[in-house]
């Protein structure tokens, strides 16, 4: 598993939120296991997608990687340096190299700031501390070039966020993320809130930017189609864990985990004939609460192929055993006993 | 929600209908009097509050009391002899009963006086009788007091409510009489709802025949002067004690009510801290005295309800010289200016007048005085403080000038000695004058009325000249009476004793 060229390597990541009780003295009475042992790596220039339904921990994973959420356990190696072990000053400096694009184009921009100031702010913060060698004029020039790269007209610089449509706001957010010249972009559902016609614009923009600036993406989404389009590899999450990870095409054509298969079959296809002919796997019930401690496979209650073993033993993410249900490509790993020897 | 609305409306309607006619008059004669302050406690030997005294007036008796002309007349003592100026012998009435039924005897007098003298009791009355060396019981109805030095104001002191005679056993049972009552007075305490009302009932065994004339007296506490007046008008109250000039002026024009008004013993003064600049200079004090216009102050601050006075309250006619016969009787701006200039304040002077917004604090007087002092080039600042702060400043002598309301007395020694003697207990002017001290001491030892009159006449002149304070006026004591009331008389020291003879139709 030596990750030659891995920009980001996450291992054993856990994010638990305490459930507290008490008024005068607050006691912890349990945990919400939002992320419960996640490992993955992202190579330079690669896009890794994290998919899953709401509450599966994909966003929390992203936030923990960006150190915006406290880690309960695990390592986040960024260029070999463990972000989890940095002190606040080091962390602040390191932030230059990984930036975020957020889901909600409405709440991710401060409504009281002009577009120009929003994009310039990261540079100003770093420049003020002497960690970025740009003066006011240089910052202004860079803001202009960033706006251009992101397809924003120069005349927008003096406007406020509320004067824009969702797509344009998302472009502003992207320009802000690029301001410091990051190596990694963590994009948390960047197109979920957008209409289809705008969504494709933004996806194309991100692709262009990736090429232009040699960016690495950790791309979070709930829409499998979007992730498959955008990412090289995809990790599917369920209840705080990765249940399957594979290259996009492999996951699309050869999904192994029952959950992945159900997910894929639930995605409506814009093709009436295919829709009519396809066989649907409809999952029973809802996602269970992540605050309940559970032994065994987290998916077993909803799984149509659950075995007795699933109830008391948790499967580990590993390449499928040869001679399983079919050929699996390199790097394809799944966390299911169907594909594991004993 | 809907149910609530209906219930509420129903209640409101019922109230409207039942309203004014809801209370029926009983057969008994009840007199309702409105006062602006609640009594603090009822132990006559301990309380200092004016409001408590007004209840004690009716509940207890003293050895002697004032009548409505400030003459000392018998109360529990039928008569007294003064064989020499160090001995007083009192002959008690027979058959006087405490409200618990026990007869009052000379033991009770001895017990009471000793209680007052005991420093543990911390009685405010102690200073009136500190000269008493011993109290001898001659017989069941005769008591003899032996003094260490002569004190002409002793009888006057004994007329104070603080020296009302109390029964030993009740005190021992209750540690004090603050919440309970057992006197010999015309009325007995029936019910006391603090800050609301106090009901007194007739004492059937009262020693004076025919008194009291009503079955019940109800005190109601109404802090607003205007409400008190309105209460008498509407018939809610039979009478009310009101000290606010504006309200009285309004009531005086009102045919529905009767206003009784006469100058009381209280005295409004403009006092100086003679230990501090600029008032350590006699000329400055005199300048202020020349500038103040008593008539204008009375007109504006009291709506004319009062009388200008000298160092002794004008109502104490036996002693007091009319202010017109005293120095600085006439406002003289030119003289004031000259005096100031002599004192080195030709270009003007500035000082603070401390006052409080309550009636006793004299805010209205201070405002008029401030205005008048401008005429002699004095720029006086008002320091209007809350009453507690006022008292604090008073007792710490932390002021330059102050507007005060002093409780005067019908007897010159009792008031003047403690107020202006250099050792006087309430001499907060820090006033030290050998001549004044000499005259005050002399007044104490003289026994003949005529001699004393001469002494106090010159003292009045001297005090007015030396001006530890400017003596302004005595505010009237006012009572507003409704049509049902007759037979009430004002004493002049605020006492409601004559309620014992008051009738209602």
């Amino acid at each position: 598993m030596s990750a030659e060229g891995a920009l980001l390597e996450v291992s054993g990541l856990k994010v638990y939120f305490p459930v507290e009780k008490g008024i005068i003295v607050r006691k912890r009475v349990g945990w919400v296991r939002a992320v419960d042992g996640v490992d993955f790596q992202v190579s330079r220039g690669e896009s890794l997608g994290l998919v899953g339904e709401s509450g599966c921990g994909k966003s929390t994973t992203a936030m923990a990687v960006a150190r915006l959420e406290a880690l309960t356990a695990g390592k986040v190696l960024f260029e070999g340096r463990d972000l989890a072990a940095l002190n606040p000053t080091e962390l602040r400096r390191a932030r230059k190299d990984f930036q975020l694009v957020f889901q909600d184009p409405w709440s991710s921009l401060d409504p009281r700031m002009r577009v120009r100031d929003i994009i310039a702010e990261p540079m100003q913060i770093f420049a003020r501390r002497g960690e970025l060698d740009l003066d006011g004029a240089a910052i202004e020039a860079r803001v202009a070039s960033l706006m251009e790269s992101c397809g924003l007209s120069k005349s927008f610089a003096e406007r406020y966020p509320h004067e824009f449509s969702g797509g344009q706001r998302q472009r502003v957010g992207i320009a802000r993320a690029l301001a410091l010249g990051p190596k990694l972009i963590i994009a948390d559902e960047p197109v979920s809130a957008l209409d289809v016609s705008i969504q494709s614009q933004i996806l194309n923009l991100l692709k262009d930017l990736q090429r232009q600036f040699n960016l690495t993406f950790l791309f979070i989404a709930h829409d499998l189609a979007v992730v498959e389009y955008f990412c090289d590899r995809i990790a599917v999450m369920y209840l705080g864990r990765i249940v399957e990870i594979a290259s996009s095409s492999q996951l699309n054509h050869m999904p192994l985990h029952p959950y992945t298969r159900a997910l894929l079959s639930a995605v409506p296809l814009p093709d009436p004939a295919k829709e009519r002919s396809r066989k649907r796997l409809i999952l029973k019930g809802d996602v269970p609460s992540p605050s309940i401690e559970r032994a065994g496979c987290p998916f077993r209650e909803r799984c149509s192929e659950a075995m007795e073993r699933c109830a008391h033993e948790a499967p580990r993410l590993s390449p499928p055993a040869p001679g399983g249900s079919g050929p699996a490509g390199p790097g394809h790993e799944v966390s299911c006993f169907l594909y594991q020897g004993n | 929600m809907k149910k609530f609305t209906i219930m509420f409306l129903a209640l409101a309607m019922m109230t409207l209908i039942a309203g004014p006619g809801a209370f029926a008059a009983g057969a008994e004669k009840v007199l309702t009097i409105g006062v602006d302050q609640e009594a603090v406690g009822l132990d006559p030997n301990i309380v200092t509050a004016f409001s408590s005294m007004r209840r004690i007036d009716l509940l207890y008796n003293r050895l002697v009391r004032y009548d409505n002309t400030f003459a000392v007349v018998p109360d529990l003592a039928e008569s007294w002899d003064v064989p020499d100026n160090l001995t007083y012998v009192f002959h008690l009435r027979k058959g006087v009963k405490f409200h618990n039924g026990r007869e009052l005897t000379s033991d009770d007098v001895q017990y009471t006086l000793n209680r007052v003298l005991d420093t543990k009791t911390a009685s405010p009355g102690r200073s009136y009788i500190t000269v008493i060396k011993s109290i001898d019981i001659v017989d069941r109805y005769t008591v003899k007091l032996n003094l260490t030095s002569p004190l002409p104001s002793l009888l006057d002191g004994l007329s104070s409510n603080n020296l009302a005679i109390v029964p030993k056993e009740v005190i021992e049972a209750n540690t004090n009489l603050q919440k309970t009552e057992c006197g010999t007075g015309p009325f007995m305490l029936q019910e006391w709802i603090p800050d609301n009302s106090m009901t007194l009932v007739k004492n059937p065994d009262y020693f004076e025949k025919g008194a009291p004339a009503v079955d019940k007296v109800i005190f109601r506490v109404i802090p607003e002067q205007a409400s008190l007046y309105a209460g008498v008008r509407s018939g809610d109250l039979d009478m009310a004690t009101i000290n606010d000039g504006a309200t009285i002026r309004q009531a005086a024009k009102d045919s529905k009510v009767t206003v009784m008004s006469k100058p009381g013993l209280n005295m409004r003064i403009f006092s100086f801290n003679t230990s501090k600049k600029p008032f350590d200079d006699l000329r400055v004090r005199q300048a202020v005295a020349s500038a103040l216009d008593r008539a204008e102050i009375l007109t504006i601050a009291e709506f004319g309800m009062g009388k200008p006075t000298g160092p002794l309250p004008v109502a104490a006619t036996a002693w007091a010289l009319p202010p017109a016969k005293l120095p600085f009787a006439v406002t003289d701006v030119a003289k004031g200016k000259k005096l100031l200039a002599d004192a080195g304040y030709a270009s003007g002077l500035s000082f603070k007048i401390t006052c409080a917004s309550t009636y006793e604090g004299g805010l209205a007087v201070a405002q008029v005085a401030q205005d008048e002092l401008k005429k002699i080039g004095v720029d006086a600042q008002l320091e209007v403080v809350e009453w507690g702060v006022y008292i604090d400043k008073w007792s710490k002598r932390d002021f330059e000038a102050m507007i005060e309301l002093r409780g005067g007395s019908g007897e010159p020694d009792r008031f003047l000695y403690r107020t202006f003697h250099s050792t006087g207990g309430v001499n907060n002017f820090m006033f030290k004058d050998a001549d004044v001290d000499k005259l005050l001491d002399q007044g104490r030892t003289q026994t003949k009325q005529a001699d004393r009159k001469v002494t106090y006449d010159s003292l009045q002149s001297l005090l007015t000249t030396k001006a530890p304070a400017v003596f302004l006026y005595c505010p009237n004591e006012n009572h507003v009476l409704g049509p049902r009331v007759s037979g009430f008389r004002q004493v002049g020291n605020g006492s409601l004793f004559y309620l014992a003879y008051t009738q209602v139709k």
Binding site: - | D195, E386, V389
Partner: protein, 326 residues
Amino acid sequence: MESNVGRYIAKRLLSLIPVLFGVSLIVFFLVRLIPGSALQMYLGTQVEATAEQMVELKRIFGEDRPVLVLYVEWLGRLLQGDFGISLRTGREVLPDILSRLPLSLELTVMALLIALLFGIPQGILASLKRNPFVDVLNRVVGLLGLSLPQFWLAALMVLFFSGFRGWIPMGNYVGFFQDPLRNIQMLLLPSLAIGIGLAAVIMRYTRNSMLEVLEMDYIRTARAKGLRKRSVIFGHALKNAILPVITVAGFNTGYLLGGAIVIEEVFALPGMGRLALYAIYQRDYPVIQGIVLVIAAIFVLVNLATDLIYAMADPRIRLDDSGRKS
């Protein structure tokens, strides 16, 4: 569920302790910072006292020991339910306060009722009549109610109603249980004077809340079901719109209680506010301390009650230990 509520109440009550402790600490030292003392007030400007007497008096008035010692003593007795003895009247503090509490509470409750009975219907009406003129008129009238100084209103009431016997208490206040009708008649004007401002507040909150709720999706759902307008407004909208009104009403109940001070003075009502006022004037420390503690306790209890009522009205609030509600 029930035990949950019980536990919640118990915990909330426990959490009052630090607040009340803080209040006790502040009030105890605050009142002693005020210039003047009970002893000075007792002596006034007329009384002479000798040195020996002063020693005795200082002992009686508790001026002979350090303040810190006094605090610890007071707190110790307080924990046993002993609020001490009034320096002014020598009476026990707690019974004196408790005897005036019913009046103040009744006044508060009546004012609250008046506020709710005027405020809520008016607020609903205002939210439905979207005619701009009526709307503006409604709001101006409401704001006018908010702008009337209580004491001014009270003084004017005394001025106008003093001719009518029985409407203004004249020191002849009767308790509710002695004569409910007389009692309510007497308290009507005072509580009106207190409640009118809150009525305006409630009206505004009801209106705003209704306007907000009427835009909600579930109102559209209710209309889409074919419900009558009345059912939509009372069955669906009001049930939700009332929630913030509960908070505001509860929030202001404590304010009403404290605000009754001036009104009690003007109307000569023997309530707690008046006791407090005199106690402050007379530097009657134990009484001030007692009253502030009692009012603070009531205040926090009212807040607790508000939260409970809110929780009953809003099933989304769970009375568990989720801590403070913001």
